[in-house]
């Protein structure tokens, strides 16, 4: 059969379907909604998981994070009015990690200091991170004004501070703040730059710079503020000694992440038996998120697949009725000399046209629905090309699979019997 003949047969099929417009449309609906739901559901799923994946990727997939955690047994046990709690990462840990493991590329220690901050007329408690210049390579953010901390600041032990966008907003700072003096406690720091920060709200994945107001060099933080902090909670004063709050470790390659995580786990078990340090591996989270996404896609795909199946059964039902209704036509065509396979192809073309058309309309709907969801609910949705291709392919496939039986039944009719049928 040439392409030209096929085109003519398709035209004829469309013409036959147009004879019963309402019936054809109703028959198509099953496939329309099936395809639309496949595309829309996959778009919602893809949107949600891509959102999670970008957040995790922002942590750096080659990075490992160590955080100091106050151990459970140290809480609420003190009888003394003023107690000293010692826990968390040590300066020695940082050195040990840097010197022990071959898979380690860079290590960035971070110390969190909470101090009363003052900029111009404004004064509030700030969360300040003391760290090394490498921080800005491992947690890369666009610089909005000025510069970030550099090796020179470290060398000269200069009292400089970099505000985050979040901190700048709280302090009502703007780009002209660069050069001004920020007071932390009773120490003066020169603001040298402002960098963007992650909003990070409403996400399961915390980024290291979440709710951080400013960065200062680690050595300065240690020299000016020391390692102890006083906390007032529920009327009791509590003193905490924490050397480092966080260590970010960059592995040389993604392949090194997992062995390194294992080695670090072993090291922590030995040096921190109190479990006052938590290791988190963004790559593991990423793997987990991807696995979740796969499960999600399978579930959504099955639901959508079932709706397509139902659509296909609807088509088959109508085509079987159509075959019965057109028994005489089949007899006439056979008497004239149509072969069985020509009857098969006639009916098959009709079903495939019907289901493919349903697939096209469904694709339109499937593109519109995620756009609406994003506009109305603010949920991220991503329509992937493969989901559209898959749906269209499946809808045409549904036509073939569910059209085959009615078509075969039409072709099996005995022409003599078919001609006598009224």
């Amino acid at each position: 059969m040439t392409a030209r003949h096929l085109l003519r047969d398709v035209k004829l099929g469309i013409k036959t379907l147009l004879l019963h417009k309402l019936r054809s449309i109703l028959t198509m609906l099953g496939v329309v909604f099936g395809v639309a739901s496949v595309i829309a559901m996959l778009a919602v799923g893809e949107g949600a998981s891509q959102d999670a994946l970008t957040r995790i990727r922002k942590l750096g997939s080659n990075n490992l994070l160590l955080n100091s955690v106050k151990p459970v047994e140290e809480q609420n046990t003190g009888a003394a009015r003023v107690r000293m709690v010692v826990y968390g990462l040590l300066y020695d840990d940082e050195r040990r990690i840097r010197e022990t493991y071959l898979q380690v590329n860079r290590v960035v220690p971070a110390k969190i200091v909470r101090k009363e901050g003052r900029l111009g007329q404004r004064s509030l408690e700030l969360r300040v991170i003391g760290t090394t210049p490498d921080w800005f390579d491992l947690v890369p953010r666009p610089v909005l004004a000025g510069r970030v901390l550099g090796a020179l600041d470290r060398e000269r032990r200069s009292s400089v501070a970099v505000l985050t966008e979040y901190g700048a907003r709280r302090l009502l700072a703007a780009s002209n703040t660069v050069g001004q003096t920020l007071r932390l406690g009773n120490q003066a720091f020169e603001v040298v730059g402002i960098i963007q920060s992650e909003p990070g709200q409403g996400s399961a994945v915390q980024t290291p710079d979440q709710e951080v107001d400013a960065y200062i060099p680690l050595e300065i933080a240690r020299a000016r503020f020391g390692d102890t902090a006083t906390k007032v909670s529920a009327g009791a004063r509590e003193r905490e000694l924490v050397e480092l709050h966080q260590i970010i470790i960059e592995a040389r390659s993604t392949a090194d992440v997992e062995p390194l995580a294992e080695a670090l786990g072993a090291m922590l078990a030995r040096w921190h038996p109190k479990k006052d340090v938590k290791l988190s591996v963004p790559l593991a989270l990423l793997r987990e998120a991807e696995a979740t996404k796969r499960t999600f896609n399978i579930v959504l795909g099955s639901i959508a697949g079932i709706s397509l199946l139902v659509g296909g059964i609807g088509i088959m039902n109508i085509m079987l009725a159509s075959v019965t209704e057109r028994t005489r036509e089949i007899g006439i065509r056979r008497a004239i000399g149509a072969k069985r396979r020509q009857i098969v192809s006639q009916f098959l073309i009709e079903t495939v046209v019907l289901s493919s058309l349903g697939g096209l309309i469904g694709t339109g709907l499937g593109l519109a629905v995620p756009a609406l969801i994003t506009a109305a609910a603010g949920m991220p949705t991503v329509v992937t090309p493969w989901s559209v291709a898959l749906s269209l392919g499946i809808s045409a496939g549904v036509g073939v699979v569910f059209g085959l039986y009615p078509a075969a039944r039409a072709a099996r009719l005995d022409p003599i019997v078919a001609l006598r049928h009224d």
């Binding site: 003519r8 036509e329 006439i332 008497a335 004239i336 000399g337 149509a338 072969k339 069985r340």
Partner: protein
């Protein structure tokens, strides 16, 4: 203008149907040959086997035993596809209830055999117009069968039967659903086609219609009761 070449040859053809647990012999040994250009009327009471005869002659069915040669081809043992091919190439059908396809126009109905012959659409359209003119329906090409009178519908059916230029026309009670005046017109048309060289095999139970054919074949109980071969 009856030629000397036999276009249909039956030799001891038998057809047995199984009805429940009983075998019914619809044809009990029929041997006959029809010459090219002849006009046969097959007659007989109902149950005499004349419909079975027409189905076999029209390649819609196969004999249980015996041989059937159509235009020199042995068709008694052909498969379904090959039988379809024989119908498509050598036969044209005219039925009692016209059997036009309701959703197709007059033109599309006439084009139908050409569609299965794989003709190019414009050539098929050209031929359909020519045939419609020949049966006097050139101005009805765009109409649907339901918009035509019975006589007109039968003319369309005849035009369709002629589309593939068959050697033989099979007519099954072609005037059965028509009033006598229209019936006469249809018989005139068939007579004309016979004069132009078509072999016609017609089943009828009306003797005045049968009288229009040059040869009559009377059947009873699956056998040929008598034959009247007319002028040549």
């Amino acid at each position: 203008m009856i030629g000397s070449r036999a276009v249909i040859e039956l030799e001891d053809v038998r057809k047995t149907y199984r009805m429940g647990s009983q075998d019914v012999q619809a044809l009990a040994g029929v041997s006959v040959s029809f010459l090219e250009g002849s006009f046969w009327a097959i007659m007989g009471p109902s149950g005499s086997g004349k419909s079975t005869m027409l189905n076999l002659l029209g390649c819609l069915d196969r004999p249980t035993t015996g041989t059937y040669r159509l235009q020199g081809h042995d068709v008694a043992r052909l498969g379904d596809d090959a039988l379809s091919e024989m119908r498509l190439r050598h036969l044209g059908f005219v039925f009692q209830s016209f059997h036009l396809i309701a959703q197709l126009t007059v033109q599309e109905n006439i084009e139908l055999p050409l569609y299965y012959l794989g003709w190019e659409p414009h050539a098929a359209a050209e031929r359909a117009r020519e045939l419609a003119g020949r049966v006097g329906l050139a101005d009805r090409l765009g109409h649907r069968p339901a918009e035509l009178s019975g006589g007109q519908q039968q003319r369309v059916a005849i035009a369709r039967a002629l589309a593939n230029d068959p050697g033989i026309l099979m007519a099954d009670e072609p005037t059965g659903n028509l009033d006598s005046a229209t019936g006469v017109q249809i018989m005139d048309l068939l007579g004309e086609l016979n004069e132009q060289g078509k072999t016609i095999v017609m089943v009828t139970h009306e003797s005045d219609i049968a009288a229009r054919a040059s040869c009559q074949l009377h059947m009873r109980d699956g056998r040929i009761e008598r034959m009247v071969e007319g002028r040549g």
